[in-house]
């Protein structure tokens, strides 16, 4: 089940597309559902599919294709670090190593207290700002050297 608020947001996404093209809202609807639930379980994906009148498998195909959807539980703060070449030339890998040391986890792992998940990201389109981190898919952090990373982690409560 999704909250009324989430359904309202999904409705306004549906309104962006022609009346017979509700499925176009599936990416946004899954993102809204993920924001509310923390991750996308099969049940949540089925709920979204049902709401949009599309087969559950079609919604699952979308959820499993795009890499910002989480089909497994993640920590309260999912931190994605870009290590692609332009970032790697300018501290991207160093930032990832620093985060791994600091949090005591590797990529695709979650801290024991369920607070942080670390992910390796592909290009976020912000290569001039390296090192770049993305928090919970929505908050982009630029020029993240150790001091700034420490500050960010301290803010996450």
């Amino acid at each position: 089940m999704l909250s009324q608020e989430a359904l309202k947001q999904i409705d306004s996404e549906i309104a962006k597309y022609p009346a017979d093209q509700k499925q176009s809202a599936v990416m946004a609807a899954l993102a809204i559902a993920q924001m509310e639930k923390g991750w996308l379980s099969t049940e949540t994906i089925e709920t979204v599919a049902g709401y949009l009148g599309m087969p559950p498998v079609a919604a699952y195909e979308v959820a499993s294709f795009y890499n910002m959807y989480d089909l497994q539980p993640v920590g309260r703060y999912k931190i994605t670090v870009c290590t692609n070449l332009p970032c790697a030339l300018s501290g991207g890998v160093h930032a990832a190593d620093y985060l791994k040391r600091k949090l005591g986890i590797g990529f695709n792992e979650t801290t024991a207290d369920g607070k942080f998940t670390l992910k390796e990201g592909e290009c976020m389109g912000a290569c001039g700002d390296a090192p770049v981190l993305l928090v919970n898919n929505v908050r982009m952090c630029s020029f993240m050297q150790p001091e700034a990373i420490d500050k960010l982690l301290a803010e996450c409560t």
Binding site: A28, A58, F65, Y66, N84, P86, G125, M140, F143
Partner: protein, 442 residues
């Protein structure tokens, strides 16, 4: 930002993105002129052709010609789509355009709708830039409230509705037909062409897709004329262009310069190579473009023709700078991993081939390379290129071929000595945290 361009630096120090700011800078004058003077669509397309504006997303296809393919008289729905799914490693210009000048893109798309007889448009925005997407939605609201968007624009009989579609992390959706599939709510897997989007696009309707920067160039061309735009650049390469400079430079960022500007000037604008080190190689047009060694690159000017002559592509204008501390095998390994990760899996040569490319480059980098590996890599690229539905397979292959072609000795060194030519500590120091002028923003 260079003061030469009109997209990122319309006025000195003027960075307001709101409608009022844009109007103060002369924004929406082109649209108002078109509506007031009832300028015929043919005239608009004609000006674009004169301007020599070429697609800024990477392919460099002439925009006026593309617009002329649209069956304007075709009854029913037709679409204008903007490709802001900027995920080509090294490219970060569309983010800044949408951040500082979203209305310029909106105006360009409205004019496109007018010129091609379309009533609806979508801007597909890269998943990782949520705040930019939200800002674009706000800008759309402003335009609607001012009757610049929606039914009967500025009291005319022309109506155009525009929406933002937020991506969610798939490089392949930068390919135009994958992007259309994605808007339709499906996996982003490219379609076979033909039919081309101009005849069978979004929801099967005629559709034209252009890059963010391409749309942003349109209002200026209408206001100032195609000839003026062409004069900004050089023949066959009209206008100014944004170049995203990343990697080993002192001042990474976007620089808007006239087409045909010498690369050496751009490098200087970006503060030159870090710590006085020597330039080793440059990828001039995004990660899919062939790499060029320093000496070749230093002789290039920044336009489609000069870079093509040097054996690479201007692409999206993403200039990745690598200095002498770079291990070329490691650099290629990271790029090959990216294409392996992002192949959509639809075509066997790409799905399997990108895995082969990554694994073989990985083993060379890790001291397990074999003598025959360089031939093997070239043979795998032969079996990918031209055998897939979209260009991702070629995009994965071109770096491999060019890195081996220009830096063969370094690859052979890895295979024979089982270690990097550039000592690992030198590499790490060269690509470490860099104290840039810009401060952390989070």
């Amino acid at each position: 930002m260079g003061a030469l361009g009109f997209i990122l630096s319309p006025e000195e120090g003027e960075r307001g993105w709101r409608l009022a700011d844009y109007v103060r800078r002369g924004g929406y004058a082109a649209l108002k002129k078109i509506i007031a003077e009832k300028i015929p669509a043919d005239h608009i397309v004609g000006e674009l052709k004169k301007s020599s504006l070429r697609g800024r997303g990477g392919a460099g296809f002439p925009t006026g010609l593309k617009w002329s393919f649209m069956p304007r008289q075709f009854p029913g729905d037709k679409y204008v789509v903007c490709n802001s799914d900027e995920g080509e490693p090294g490219t970060f210009k569309d983010r800044d355009i949408l951040r500082w000048n979203p209305h310029m893109v909106i105006e360009g798309m409205i004019i496109a709708g007018y010129a091609m007889g379309c009533q609806r448009g979508y801007n597909y925005i890269h998943g990782e830039i949520w705040d930019i997407y939200k800002r674009f939605e706000e800008a759309l609201d402003e335009a609607r409230a001012a009757n610049l968007l929606g039914p009967n624009i500025l009291g005319s009989d022309f109506s155009f509705e525009l929406q933002a579609h937020h991506g969610y992390g798939a490089y392949i959706c930068g390919e135009e037909t994958a992007l259309l599939e994605s808007i339709e709510g499906k996996k982003g897997q490219p379609r076979f062409k033909p039919p081309f989007p101009a005849s069978f696009g979004l929801y099967g309707k005629p559709t034209t897709i252009n890059n963010t920067e391409t749309f942003a160039s349109v209002p200026w061309i209408i206001t100032n004329g195609g000839d003026k735009f062409l004069e900004l650049g050089k023949p066959n390469n009209g206008g100014t262009k944004l170049f995203s400079v990343s990697g080993h430079v002192n001042r990474p960022g976007n620089f808007e310069v006239p087409m045909g500007t010498p690369f050496a000037e751009l490098l200087e604008m970006a503060g030159g190579v870090r710590a006085g080190r020597k330039l080793k190689a440059v990828i001039p047009g995004g990660s899919s473009a062939p790499v060029l060694p320093a000496d070749i690159m230093m002789d290039c000017t920044l336009d489609y023709d000069s870079i093509a002559k040097a054996g690479s592509m201007l692409g999206s204008g993403a200039v990745i700078v690598m200095d002498e501390t770079t291990c070329m095998v490691k650099a290629l390994e990271r790029l090959s991993y990216f294409y392996f990760e992002e192949s959509c899996g639809q075509c066997t040569p790409c799905r399997e081939g990108t895995g082969w490319l990554y694994r073989v480059v990985h083993r060379i980098e890790n001291g397990l390379g074999r003598r025959e590996d360089l031939d093997l890599l070239n043979s795998v690229t032969d079996n990918i290129m031209g055998r897939t539905i979209c260009a991702l397979g070629d995009a994965a292959s071109l770096p491999v071929r060019s890195f081996i072609k220009h830096f063969k000795a370094e690859f052979e060194y890895h295979i024979e000595r089982k270690q990097c030519l550039v000592p690992v500590d030198v590499q790490r120091a060269g690509s470490g945290f860099f104290v840039a002028e810009a401060k952390a923003t989070c």
